[in-house]
Every structure is written in structure tokens, then in C-alpha cells.
Amino acid sequence: MSADILNMKQETAPAGLRKWEQEFGQTAKGAAITYNRSGIAIKPLYTPQDWSGRYDDALAYPGQYPYTRGVYASMYRGRNWSQRQLIGLGVPEDYNARVKEILGLGASALSLIPCNSVFRGYDADEVPHELLGTCGTVVNHVRDMEVALDGVPIGEISTAMNDPSPFTLLAFELAVAKRRGIPWTSITGTSNQSDCISHFVANHMFFRLALQGARRVVVDHIKFCNSHVPNWNPLSIVGQHMQQAGATPAEAMALTLASGIQYAEDCIAAGMEPDQFLPRFTFFFDISISLFEEIAKFRAGRRVWARLCRERFGAKDPRSWRFKFHGQTSGVDLTRQQPLNNIARVTTQAMAGIFGGLQSLHTDSYDEVFSTPTAEAARIAVATQNILREEAQLTDVIDPLGGSYYVEALTDEMEHKINEIIAMIDEAGGMYSAVESGIVQRMIGDSALAFQKKVDTGEQVVVGVNAYQIPEDSESYPALEYPDPEKIQVYLKQLAEFKRSRSATEVTNALDDLARSVESRESNVFEHVVKAADAGATHGEICGRLRKELGFGHPLTLV
């Protein structure tokens, strides 16, 4: 058994280690080797024998290539991570009230989650009214955005919007900035859900345009933002969808970096310089409760991306090598049974993200298994971040687990696994080819089913679900109220009034220009989305016109 655990020749092992192994074997219960979610074998003890890397090459100091220990020299000593809670409900007035409340509680950055009808590319007057504003804010035009952002200093605070191709929400925000006299150069934030590959693969919720059409628009969007909104992050590459859909942490990281490679190659093909667009690429990941595995995932991801950018794309500016990411605690780990236990889960996940060196964090509310979060649960989620930072002092030391024999060995193993999957995607011709052939979806689906089977057999314990159960008490938990139907009726009237108040000619011309921009490779489609939004075209009109030109998004049917 001893040689199996240590994977080294007995004669070279230090005497103390040999003695430990013997004593361990006499008292330990169960299998000596366990496996993490990514399928990596985990030993009961790590020692100096397990890591032989060179410090300067493999780790280096924070803020130095390959950034294993963090992308900035001062990390949280210099700047707190952005506490960016997802917000979105009801009509623009509701959103605005919630934003003002949450900013007062210490949130330092905004997010905007629109209604699902918006995600599918429709205006409120095109869909069943029952669904409006039930899990996101209805935002259909520039006037809505003015209301949503009323009193919010958009030139000073970063705004992240769930805004898939063709990025109408950013277009509305830019139109609002123009009306307020705020220069676009001072607008900061991120186009979340700009990664159409992840939508096609794993979260079809955001999949509006056919894959190749979305591919064209995202490149135009990156190009436009780099030139006109230079402090905006036009691309957030999303591993969260893949992991939520079932990918293991290593698979999620690898597939996300493979998507990053694909977007970088598309930008280069469109004539852009790596050092122009790479500094504005950002990432978004799920943080599961598998604590050390997640920490290793992020440390390995930073190293792999830095090397790809420098070696594969020849980027020379250190800002191009930095892997900056937003993390969201994993909803899949939360349980309906004994829901307050979710607060402990979210705390653990958040710690993994912080030790992993994230730049921005959303902590889930414990009641997300019942409904869109209630106000009290959302407050606890923000407080969890404050407690970890201010009370637990997690931020005093940069990369506090760096140098741990286990964490460094695991980081290497995750890196190895990530590189293997990236090589497989390269072999398949890149991410677009790989997803069109279905191999990525199959990988994720297989992992999802395998995990569920482990839960069902009890191999993976989930407290309250397959172990430590107590009689069901969930009925007593309140769910968020849906918007008052009256409010929705008022909204629909206002939408009709807005449409009547516009210059019909200007809107028609702007939409015609938009359609023409698709035909010419020289034109920038997103530039025309911005112009149409400013002219008063609605979200549904812009998306509808582009659907006609580029095709509707339909996922591959694979089971």
C-alpha cells in the first residue's frame, strides 16, 4: 500500500516518511486514494517530495508572469474584489430602487440581469405577460435604461450587464451616457454573457442568434469597444455555464480557455493586434464547494492563460497575460432540503474563490433553490463577503496557500488535465468546430450524469439530501413575490407610448442600416446597434432585424 500512496521508490523516501506511511496504513480507514470532481487522484499526505517545480518559472511573485500567485502585485491589499451581486427584477423602477439599496449596503459594482424575454431577444409586447419581470428586469429601450440607472454615477461605478450578442443593453447605456454628457471613455464594466460559444454548449438561455452570426457580432463588438469604449471589457469568457451544466472543474477551465483561444484567433483574423484586445478579455467561473480543487483550478488557469497569450499569440504587453475573473458561487451545490445550510456552502465556495485570487465575486443567496432571491437572503449573501474579508482576515496575505505541498501539486495536476483537453479541442479544429460536432456537449452531459449517479448512490454525500436528512421543512420559506400584474400593464402602456413618441423615420433608417451592415464585412454591426439604440429602436426590433439577417439561435439536439 505504501508505494501506491507515495508513488515513489521506498529506498529514496526519507525515513520519517516511510514511518508515517506505515503508521497511516495501520490506522486509516477507507481507500487511501480518493478522487476529486475532476477525476484527479488525491493522496492522504503531500510532502516536499510532491513538488519539484522551479519557483520563478512555475509560481513567481504576485503580479509577475505566469501569475500563478495572482494577477496583481498587491491583490486584495491594493483593492478589494468587486462585490458584484446579480440584480434584476420587475420593471426598471424596481431595479433602480434595489440598486440604490444594495449600493448603500457596500456593493461596489453593479450588475443588471434582464428578464428572460429580453434574453430571447423579444420586447415585452411580444411575449406571455405572466413571465415578464419574474426573474430579471424588463429593459426594452433607452428610456428604460435611463430609469434603471437614474441617480447611478455610471462614469464612476462599474456596470456589468448580462447582455448577449447583439449587446443592446450596452448600446442603451452608451445612449444614456451620451444624453448625460458622460464620455464613453469613462464607462467601465463588462459585457457578461458575450461568450456565444458557452451559450451554444451549455446555457442556451442566452443563445439568441445562430452560432456563426453571433460569432461575427462578438468580434465586431470587441473591435468597437476597444476603439470607442476603451475601459469596457467587451468579452467575458464563461466557464460557469459549462460547470453548472455538469463539466468538472478541470473540464470547465479547459473549455473556457479553449474558447478564449478561439476568440483571440477570430480577433487576429479580423486584423486586430493581441496586445490591443487581450487586456480586455475577462473570465467568469463557477466556484463549487470542492475547496482545494477550485483553488487549484484558478491558480492553474492563470498560468495556462498567461503562457498561451505570451507564447501562442505573441502578446508582449504584460496586461495581455493577466487572467482576470469574476466568480459566482455554484447554485448546483445548493439544496432545497434544510436551505439555511446553503449559507455554509456559499461561505465555503466564496473562500475557494478568494483563495483562488478572483477579481469580482457574486455570492448566491441561500434561497435560490426556491425562487429569485428575497431581500433578506440577498443581504446575507453580501454580508458573507464582508465577514470573510473583515472578520476572518482572508485578505491579509496574498495567495496564502501558495507553497502548500498539496495545493502546488494539485495545481500542476489540474494544469496537466487542462492542457490535455485544450489539445483535444485544438485537434478538433477549435471550439466552434468542436461544439458543432457535439463532442463538447457530450463531455459535459456525461460528467453531469456521472455526478448525479454518485449523489444517487451516496458516493457523493450531500447533507440533507442523501445523508443527515430531517423531515422536510422547506414549506415555511418565503419565495420572492412576482411583480404586480398591474405594474406590468403600466409598463406595457409606457412601451406603446415610447414607440409612438419616436421618429419612425429615424428608427426605420437605423434598422435598415443595421441590416445592411451585416452584408458588408467592412461594416461594424455593433456600431449600428449603438446607433439604432440611440435613435430609439427597441431591443426586440434590433434583435428581430438581426435574427432575420443572421438566423435564430437553436441549440444542437443531443442527449
Partner: protein, 140 residues
């Protein structure tokens, strides 16, 4: 007495596209020997009704994560309208307790919440298939 394999439609209506649930359920029911008709998300209610007729479905499974369950009463009405009241409808996903009773009143046979065991879902689909065939006057 051997049950002809249940025929089950697994689908999503409305706007949400989170389909981990519907995919895992489809694969599970298929592994259990059932005939599964899987669709991608965003189906129209009329499409689901048409599919149920064409496929002679015993059970329709609707997966809902983000409030799309609110239009399930419309689906139930449309099934009734099409004379398909015998088709058993089950729902899985995030459904607040107060909405569960609305769905059950509308004729939904069962709502599965997060944490439901796959085995229980398989057992229920078999039971509901037998019920549907009895309603049709078919010997099980």
C-alpha cells in the same frame, strides 16, 4: 405482464435555456428502458401539444428553472382542449411552494424539486404511464 415502454416527452417551454435537468432526466429515463422524445428548450405550448399527439406520449416532463412554470396552466388547458387530458404531466425544477399548488390544481400529476432521486422519478413515470393507459381503457 410486461409494460410496453413508457413514451415520455422531456421538454422546456417559455424562455429559459438551462437544460442540465432535462438532459439528465432524458438520459436516465432512456437508460431505464423508456422511449424518450427530447426537445431543446423554448418550445411553444402548441408545439408540445402537437408532439404529444403525434408521439402518443404517456407522460410529458416539463423542466423549469426560471419561472417558466408560470405558463404550465396554459399548457394544461391546451392539452384539455386537444382532448389529451389523459396524458400525465410532471414538472421538475425550481417551483416555489405557493406555485406548486397552482400547478397541481391545474392538473399537473407531480412536481419534483431539486434533490429528487432519479430512481423516484423513474418509478413515478412508470406509475403514471400505467394510469394513463388505464384512462385510455388499455389493459396495462
Amino acid at each position: 405482464m410486461v409494460l410496453r415502454p413508457p413514451r415520455v416527452i422531456v421538454t422546456k417551454i417559455g424562455f429559459d435555456g438551462h437544460d442540465r435537468g432535462s438532459r439528465v432526466i432524458s438520459a436516465t429515463l432512456r437508460d431505464a428502458g423508456m422511449e424518450v422524445i427530447y426537445t431543446p428548450p423554448w418550445q411553444e405550448i402548441a408545439t408540445v401539444v402537437k408532439l404529444a399527439t403525434e408521439e402518443d406520449a404517456d407522460v410529458i416532463g416539463i423542466s423549469s428553472l426560471a419561472t417558466d412554470h408560470l405558463i404550465i396552466p396554459q399548457l394544461m388547458a391546451a392539452l384539455k382542449e386537444a382532448d389529451l387530458s389523459d396524458v400525465q404531466v410532471i414538472v421538475g425544477g425550481i417551483v416555489p411552494a405557493r406555485d406548486e399548488s397552482i400547478l397541481l390544481e391545474a392538473g399537473v400529476a407531480r412536481v419534483f424539486h431539486p434533490g429528487a432521486a432519479l430512481d423516484d422519478i423513474v418509478t413515478d413515470v412508470i406509475t403514471l404511464t400505467a394510469k394513463r393507459r388505464q384512462l385510455q381503457g388499455e389493459s396495462v
